[in-house]
């Protein structure tokens, strides 16, 4: 009788956080036949592995130092009857890679074509973290910004308006404190929304290529496609002027 009442309650409040909590099934490393692929990207030491563990139930080694994750790690979870494969990528400051682990991260974001890229940013060091976020937004609009370590930011008296940030970047922004499991279900439902949506959000582009050059690139792109269908013609991160 009691369980019947509980079931009734679920069907009536699909938006309730408790509902989300019950629809998440952590699957650990079993990552075969997944419906969606999610990549976790971000600067070093922003809590990507902690978020990965919170979503998959794995006990991936986490630590407060840079360069802890050097290879990509896979895991998966079930959420609302869909299976998600999630990749924990090594931290990187930029898509223009200068070390092996940065190359692993870059290659997957560029060529792995994830359904959703979650960019984990450190809320206490937002400015330095947005460099990578903007580079990723040049490649894909299927992005969720995860404003992690929000508890640390609150302690330091840093307030961040996620609505304005989301409007400026053109992609959803979710505040989390993964260590305390705060905001994880918010993050999950946002990932789900982006993964299931047909239309790709219009991400903010900081720099537009002049139309003359754009035409030349298009011609080159056409020629390159004649050689190979799967060729990636554009590399992000170098399109805006660097001083």
């Amino acid at each position: 009788m009691a369980s019947f009442k509980l079931n009734q309650a679920h069907s009536n409040c699909a938006d309730c956080p408790i509902h989300d909590k019950l629809s998440l099934k952590r699957l650990g490393v079993d990552a075969e036949n997944s419906d969606y692929v999610v990549a976790l990207a971000g600067n070093p030491n922003t809590g990507k592995s902690t978020i990965f563990n919170a979503l998959t139930g794995l006990k991936q080694h986490t630590g407060n130092w840079t360069g802890k994750t050097v290879a990509r790690t896979e895991g998966s979870f079930f959420f609302h009857d869909k299976k998600y494969k999630i990749l924990d990528l090594p931290g990187t400051y930029s898509l223009i890679s200068s070390s092996l682990e940065e190359e692993i991260a870059r290659n997957f974001i560029l060529f792995g074509k994830p359904d959703v890229t979650v960019i984990v940013v450190d809320a206490t060091r937002l400015e330095r973290n947005l460099n990578l976020a903007i580079q990723i937004l040049e490649i894909s609009g299927r992005v969720v910004i995860c404003l992690n370590l929000i508890d640390e930011a609150e302690k330091k008296g840093i307030g961040i308006d996620t609505k304005i940030l989301s409007r400026e970047l053109g992609v959803p922004v979710v505040a989390t404190a993964a260590r305390e499991q705060r905001g994880i279900y918010d993050l999950l439902s946002t990932i789900e929304k982006v993964a299931r949506s047909q239309d790709i959000p219009r991400a903010r582009q900081l720099y537009r290529i002049p139309s003359g050059i754009e035409k030349q690139i298009e011609t080159l792109e056409k020629n390159m496609r004649c050689i190979s269908r799967n060729v990636q013609c554009r590399v992000a991160g170098i399109t805006y002027p660097r001083r």
Binding site: Y93, I96, S98, T124, R125, E127, R128, N131, R242, R243
Partner: protein
Amino acid sequence: MFGIFKKTSQEIISGSKKILSELIPGQRASIDFIDENCQGIERNRLLDLGFVPGAQVEVAISSPFNDPTAYLIKGGLIALRRNQASKIHISPLQ
């Protein structure tokens, strides 16, 4: 012959004479520009780490012979080799 006294155009505009590797722990500065001789991956790396013109930097910790030295910049603690820091032109702050 007077080549060594010649300043680059950027240097004349900013009036910068000092480089980051000359500072001692506790000193603060504002970054003017990255040396023109520093190009490619090396330059991009410094920019990605937050050493961009206008950014404020403070020397946090220094090791023997100042190589490497850790700098506080844009909320992060970043260690640079002496030869990397010598590519960054600065104006000291009080």
